[in-house]
């Protein structure tokens, strides 16, 4: 076992790829740093909080990016976003077998507000361009900062998400919602509530994550490869299997519409889990991952990508 959550971005990549196969693009030695942080007297990082490159996993040529949660929460600034876009474009140029996005991020880097917002939008479009080129893009969400903001949208633009029960996937962070709507709307200090609303188990149960794994680098890697291979093989002759199709988006429209009808009146995820047919929803947070999967797989919503 090697904890994914406790590893740094570089350690995660090293643990994913075949030994010695990683080639980093624009490594920190080149010292390309954010042009905006100095005006807020904020520190810079020589990789701007994201590591991008390519390597091999079990014979596959894999392009990979890992956001470093330890630098500004993994948030996306101008340089950080451009590195992700450049890697995705290069994956298309070099016909990668798969792209893995190791996301740990609060979304737009607020210190670079406007530039960060456009950057996230560019990443989103580049992910979809990569899928259209027939290359599966898989998101891995296992860091302690979770995956939030615009990057929570980007994660759901990939072919599939692997999440751990410890990690979280959402859009607006609880602190932002509490600041806007008050503590009665969302108490950001209620850890159990925050976890029920945004945590890996809930995302897996409602179908927003396609796989859930234990907090282990190898488990993340194996699950991501399974999703990538499944995406590539799902083509029906008319498409590559990784690209968007009208049929898949119509199915997603129905899935999201049905979710709203069934669960739109619920106050707490516990009620959703009960509606899914789970007899003791309050026991869900306590279950070990294998027991959880066994329970969840009989009840969870189909996970469209």
């Amino acid at each position: 076992m090697s904890s994914y959550q406790e590893a740094t971005a570089r350690q995660r990549i090293a643990g994913m790829l075949d030994e010695g196969s990683f080639m980093e693009f624009l490594p920190p030695q080149q010292r390309v740093v954010s042009p905006h942080l100095h005006q807020l007297d904020a520190p810079v990082s020589f990789d701007d909080g994201v590591v991008v490159g390519k390597g091999r996993i079990q014979g596959r040529q894999v392009f990979i990016a890992a956001q470093e949660g330890g630098f500004m929460g993994g948030a996306v600034g101008e340089v950080h976003g451009a590195k992700l876009v450049g890697m995705l474009r290069r994956a298309v140029d070099e016909s990668a077998d798969a792209v893995l996005l190791l996301l740990e991020t609060g979304g737009v880097r607020l210190h670079e507000a406007n530039a960060g917002l456009i950057a996230v939008s560019e990443v989103m479009r580049a992910v979809l361009d990569t899928r259209a080129a027939g290359i599966p893009v898989i998101a891995l969400v296992g860091g302690s900062n979770g995956c939030f903001g615009g990057m929570g949208i980007v994660a759901r633009c990939t072919n599939g998400i692997v999440i751990s029960e410890e990690s979280r996937l959402a859009m607006s962070g609880p602190e932002v919602i509490e600041t806007a709507g008050g503590v009665e709307e969302f108490d950001a200090r209620d850890r159990a509530l925050v976890w029920r609303v945004t945590g890996g188990k809930h995302r897996y149960l409602i179908g927003d994550a396609q796989d859930i794994v234990t907090d282990d680098v190898n488990a993340f890697r194996d699950a991501a490869l399974r999703l990538a291979d499944a995406a590539r093989c799902s083509g029906n002759g008319s498409g590559s299997g990784t690209e968007l199709t009208l049929e898949a988006l119509e199915a997603e429209q129905r899935m999201l519409g049905s979710r709203l009808e069934r669960f739109g009146g619920c106050e707490d995820p516990l009620e959703i889990w009960a509606s899914l047919g789970i007899d003791e929803p309050q026991a869900v947070p306590l279950l070990e991952i294998d027991a959880f999967r066994e329970l969840a797989d009989g009840h969870r919503e189909g996970a469209a990508s």
Binding site: E78, A82, V85, G106, I118, A119, G150, F263
Partner: protein
């Protein structure tokens, strides 16, 4: 301008746009062609329902009117900040909307966005910013987050952020800054109908925003860094 005034100015040849709970949808005539119009009004927050309604209108256009251009009218205070929306997976609803627009683009629909009042964050990423090109009216405001929340997250004092929001291009909410950074393709000062017709004629599937940001001097590193990563070369100074 309210949305009716904007619609009348954009579509002098006629339009049938209806508003329902701040969601705009319908058809209009541009240069003798019928276009689909979707959008929002009243600065409405984008929650799961309105994101799904917009996606439905896009899918309907793709299914029933192959190739028909799509115009997205943007006025939103951003994603809805509610625990319920997060519980239901609002990021999935917004991603779905973005993917529907992308599907339309892939199938040859031209897509133009217009910020006619206000745009913010997640509500903008899956509307104007996912179009082939996004334009703005001169008085439009575009921003990432309200300053009090931003101060809480960044730990930068509110007074300092308020100061920066006056004129710093990275923080100030004006459309002009987004123009310089390439996020907005152009600002329409007059003759909106002609501007829209031109925009639809020029719209294309390539994302050229980083190049525009470089040409206009508002984002000097984005294009150079992406190119350096893509080609394995050094970053070329702007």
């Amino acid at each position: 301008m309210n949305w009716q005034q904007v619609a009348d100015a954009l579509f002098p040849q006629g339009h049938r746009i209806v508003e329902r709970d701040c969601f705009l949808s319908g058809e209009a005539q541009v240069g003798g062609q019928t276009v689909t119009v979707i959008g929002t009004t009243g600065h409405t927050p984008i929650g799961v329902e309105i994101a799904l309604a917009q996606a439905s209108a896009i899918l309907d256009t793709v299914r029933r009117h192959p190739g028909r251009a799509i115009v997205i009218l943007v006025d939103t205070e951003g994603q809805r900040l509610r625990r319920r929306d997060e519980m239901l997976g609002i990021n999935s609803y917004m991603a779905h909307l973005g993917k529907c627009v992308e599907l339309a683009r892939r199938r040859g629909h031209r897509i133009v966005g217009l910020v006619y009042d206000q745009a913010l964050s997640g509500g903008f990423i899956t509307s104007g910013l996912i179009a082939d090109a996004c334009y703005a009216l001169p008085e439009a405001t575009i921003r990432v987050m309200g300053l009090p929340a931003m101060a809480r997250i960044t730990k930068v004092p509110l007074e300092r952020l308020e100061e920066l929001a006056q004129d710093n291009p990275v923080f100030a909410p004006g459309a002009e800054n987004y123009l310089r950074m390439g996020g907005v393709a152009g600002i329409w000062h007059e003759n909106l109908a002609a501007a829209l017709e031109d925009a639809l004629a020029q719209a294309g599937p390539q994302d050229r925003r980083a190049e525009l940001g470089l040409e206009r001097g508002g984002r000097k590193l984005a294009f150079a860094v992406a190119q350096a990563v893509r080609t394995g070369s050094d970053v070329q100074a702007a």
